[in-house]
Symmetry: C2
Subunit: 340 residues, 2 copies
Amino acid sequence: MNRRAMLSGAAALVAAPGIVPAKAAAAGADPLPSWNEGGPKQAILDFVGRVTTAGGHDFVPPPQRIAVFDNDGTLWAEQPVYFQVAFALDRVKALAPQHPEWRDTEPFRGIIEGDRQALAAAGEKGLLQIIAATHAGMTTTAFDALVAEWFRTARHPRFDRPYDGLVYQPMLELLALLRANGFKTFIVSGGGVEFMRVFADRAYGIPPEQVVGSSGVTKFEIRPDGQPVLIKEAKVEFIDDGPGKPSGIDRVIGRQPILAFGNSDGDQQMLEWTAAGTGPRFLGLVHHTDAEREYAYDRESRVGRLDKALDEAVQRGWTVVDMRRDWKSVFPAASPAERR
Amino acid sequence: MNRRAMLSGAAALVAAPGIVPAKAAAAGADPLPSWNEGGPKQAILDFVGRVTTAGGHDFVPPPQRIAVFDNDGTLWAEQPVYFQVAFALDRVKALAPQHPEWRDTEPFRGIIEGDRQALAAAGEKGLLQIIAATHAGMTTTAFDALVAEWFRTARHPRFDRPYDGLVYQPMLELLALLRANGFKTFIVSGGGVEFMRVFADRAYGIPPEQVVGSSGVTKFEIRPDGQPVLIKEAKVEFIDDGPGKPSGIDRVIGRQPILAFGNSDGDQQMLEWTAAGTGPRFLGLVHHTDAEREYAYDRESRVGRLDKALDEAVQRGWTVVDMRRDWKSVFPAASPAERR
């Protein structure tokens, strides 16, 4: 069975939550009902209006209406750890019985015993060991199935709902508004491309071929029974973060976007690259200012630090979305997983 | 100026040659007029009919109608050398005055003096040196401009027409037929992704984000004048050939295609990967059998060798297109470049 094809097929049948039909937008209904009136909402609507007005000075032909979105912290939450890290930690715990040696080896010991300090101390090297142990040595199909199963069963520690229920309702509306206006919407994320594809179509309406992310090396092999497979190897191929994002955009999309949205310093170069060149551009940052409904963090945060990019945004007049002020609601009422 | 955006914009205004409007197909006109009646034409039409018949056993929802095509030898000619190699050789000659040291260094000496044996002897290592000398050390924008200029000026030694005039008319019709039936058409080629994007939209109607190819490392940099650029480095990042093709498909497209067309052993794994899984599949090979109108080569050819893949195609009943027998015409009457 081709599980990925099955997942995509299922996704096509399930409407993404919060998607506003183009018709409603055309009929004059508010296409961004979860956005409070104010600067960012107005800036978005102005931009979309300008680039789609035929004959106008800022008109952009549809093939060039490329919009790129960071994922973690921009389209869904990223605290207290990136959700893909939460998946990896859950996998380590699930695999522990088969790896008695992990009980004496960091960073595995720390994870198994719930020692948060040990995990933090493991740093990037430790994280790569965890990724190798949980994301490699299996076929791409087997990995997809593990991720899909995790989305069905795991729950976020604070919000007690499936992780894919923690997508941002205002951003779902923005994605839908852009697509209704001839934009092609892409994810450009530091996250693993295969991890994201399992839920991106269902959660955001973004198909697999419009997800750009970090990747590991895969190896083509024909199994003894004649079945071809791709094996995920424990070797990093490409890190789609920071200065890697313009490279990832160039390699996969091959044109400069006209709209980019991020939330952290890891998105700074993607915004700079999008801002370059001529013609109208929209650059946006989600600023996490809402400790009550979501989280409040920026310059000092370990996860999703927003420091230099915030200074540049202010200096260059990019749109900074203040979550507390600008968003009427944060999460959708019910995730697809919760409705299952 | 963003030359790439400009090129894409221009491409949107120029109809690709040989594209059959969906309407004509719907009205009962032959959607494949350059194909002779017979097995391959019938197999294509049958397949497209089956996967698009709503309610039928073989129906495939549009998002899963992914079609992948090799480029060299499948969508355009590849003799006497891959056209990208012809571009690189022309660049070496153009750059020679700035590199007096090349007069005593292989493979450059051989190229400059037109010594074909020296070039052949240089092998893969020599080819990589040539690619490094001609495809790196400049911005992506500068490279695009060089390729575009080459298409405007270079002419094929045998057919005396611009290289992008040597696309295959029957394949243009096939691409158009598939798109008119809800397929998304991709190139998956061993060629350089940035080289192909310069002409793929204009020549095939395939936009930059649907071109998968080999790539070099690019480095993001902000120039002293504040302008962000991507520098092409002399480092191979990914070779999208042979067993690399399934990996490239997985990384960029993220789903298994249902149709794949190639012409050489470098496409064998792509066809095997496409054939895997359940549901209807179409696997095709272009067999170069037409020395008069194009070229005749297969098992012994240095460029585009077709040996093991041909055996597998025969054994598994894949569609083998005999160019001489199955194609009414090979090249379009006039290329976009020639009409300029």
